[in-house]
Amino acid sequence: MSDIYVHGLEWTVKELFTYPNEFIYWSVQIVMYPYMTGLVAGAFVLSSLYHVFGQEDLKDMARFALVFSLALLPVATMPLLMHLQQPFRALNPMFTPHFTSAIAAFGIVFSTYGMIVLSEIWFVYRTYFVEQYLALQGKTGAANTLRRLVYAIFTLGAFDTSEAAVAKDHKAVKILAGVGIPVACFLHGYAGFIFGSVKANALWMSPLMPVIFIMSAVVSGIALCMVTYIVIMEFKKFQATLARGRGDESVQIIGGVETDVIRKASRYLLGFMVAAISLELLDLIFRGYTAMKSWDILRSVMYGKDFINIFVLQYGIGNLLPFFMLLIGRTTIRKTAIACLLVLFGVFMMRWNVVIGGQAFSLSFAGYMHYKLPIIPHNIETFKEGLFGALTVAVTPFVIFYVLNKFVPAMNYGTNGAKLSNN
């Protein structure tokens, strides 16, 4: 028997009376998992607000959010793979799903949702694929031939761009976006159920958990889309300024569109934030009021050991501060961007406080466990379940988005009224 490795021993600091087998088994990757699925679901809901409910003001954001949600999609499974002790068995739940388990249907829910997002994007961009294919037809060179081939595959052989066909596309998008909302909410509410149904964990067990997760998911999704949108638009403005000078009309147009979209999107962000915070506070108040057996230890964790994490970082800096930043005063791009980043941080801290906070106390209710995030990895486990593993997960969607954007432009295409294209 060689290569002995006690999972959790390296990053768990125990205090007072804990059982010998207790460690932080669900570490930073399980914080990343609901965070990433939340972003996926949130981005999709944002795009659906336009496609289904016809919120015209979100039109520019909608397409962007949709492509971004596709970029986030594969990343939602990454933290799970990095967390599994047997990652090569990751598909076993698909082979022998044990449906009494909340995790068993993850693959099914996830792939259903993935198919919806993919087909919706296909319907939104089909005309574009055909246009690109036709435009590249006469051109020579290996790169053009390859691009043409890619677009030919993307069209799936549907080259009909007649008015009737395009109308059908629109109808399909609407239906898919409509079906997508409940599925996206289910995907994430489901992540909440995974935690909320663990009866052994006093902090997690709550029927409110799925709803809380959905609301904070939408909040984080909108915030991330807004931040990314701002960064890209600022970059475009910068490019236009470089090319044509500060006073150029295109710079003004870009700036105008940006401010407009951001102002409208932040209204939705505020609405969902109110819902998310109310539910979380309701949960907290209810626990304190009913004061069940576990309340003593929960209180000592929430108001004592994790006070900074919960009340300062999550509720203070992550919720209240950005809430008032968005609510009060004039909307400026910089202020909104900072507020959105704070919101993203707040939602991350909420996930952290649920996942890590739920393991901060022993099942004996008489001891504590502290999670020491591994920073410098010295083996594969401390990489996977450490800072760099989490960062890998956080960076990947942007890399995927960059590649996706080459073929499925999230911004330039179809912004009627203000065509910002420089191609």
């Binding site: 002995i4 006690v6 669900w26």
Partner: protein, 256 residues
Amino acid sequence: MSCSRRDFLRRSIKGGIAASLPLSAFKFLSPAQAKSLVRESGLRWVFLVDTTKCVGCGLCVKACKLENEVPYDVPVTRTWVERYVVTKDGKFHADSPMGGRDGFTEQKIDEQEIPPEEIAKAFFVPKLCNQCENPACVQVCPVGATFQTPEGVVLVDRTWCIGCAYCIMACPYGARFFHPVYRVAEKCTFCYHRISKGMKTACVQACPFGARQIGNFKDENDPVTKTILTQRVAVLKDEYGTKPQVYYIGLDSNVR
């Protein structure tokens, strides 16, 4: 033969439905239905711990680790012994260093020296998997790698466990952990490989004081069954609805 895409899709759907009809002739059984078709086992393993007999020597933990190949020098263990010290002010102190493997030779509990004159009572509580009648760990396993045998023992299939730790999270007793070598969920099996051959579990055999006993609850002449039925026994954490099957004599309200 011409076949437009629309026709192709239409035929595929029809074909799919036609093919699935014969499949519906098969009946899907719920786990409970399937279980009832299997011959009812005449066995239900239960465990009896007499805490009044335990002296905290740790021989059971040693024997378990050796028998079940859980690395000796790691804190994780299939069975462990807890020490409780209740002081005269009503407060309790507890510990289980290395699962109590080496006995309790230190006076200190959690770095804290408790003067003997302040102690109101002190006792040891051996713990192991409760082999629950309604096991939360089996419920949450996404792949069915952990299961309950007809004799009531919960086992783990090491070749199929994906190592997600959901079962570890779901167990209110902290009985589960990751095996340091196989990297899959690990737990006490009541020494299934031994009891199935008519032997005692390693811990029962190692206990010099008879604090641990294993029996068949379906055999009314079994001494363990008799004790459980006729004496005042208790189980741990019954509020979780798991219906634990390890019974304790002399349990205290301080026991966690």
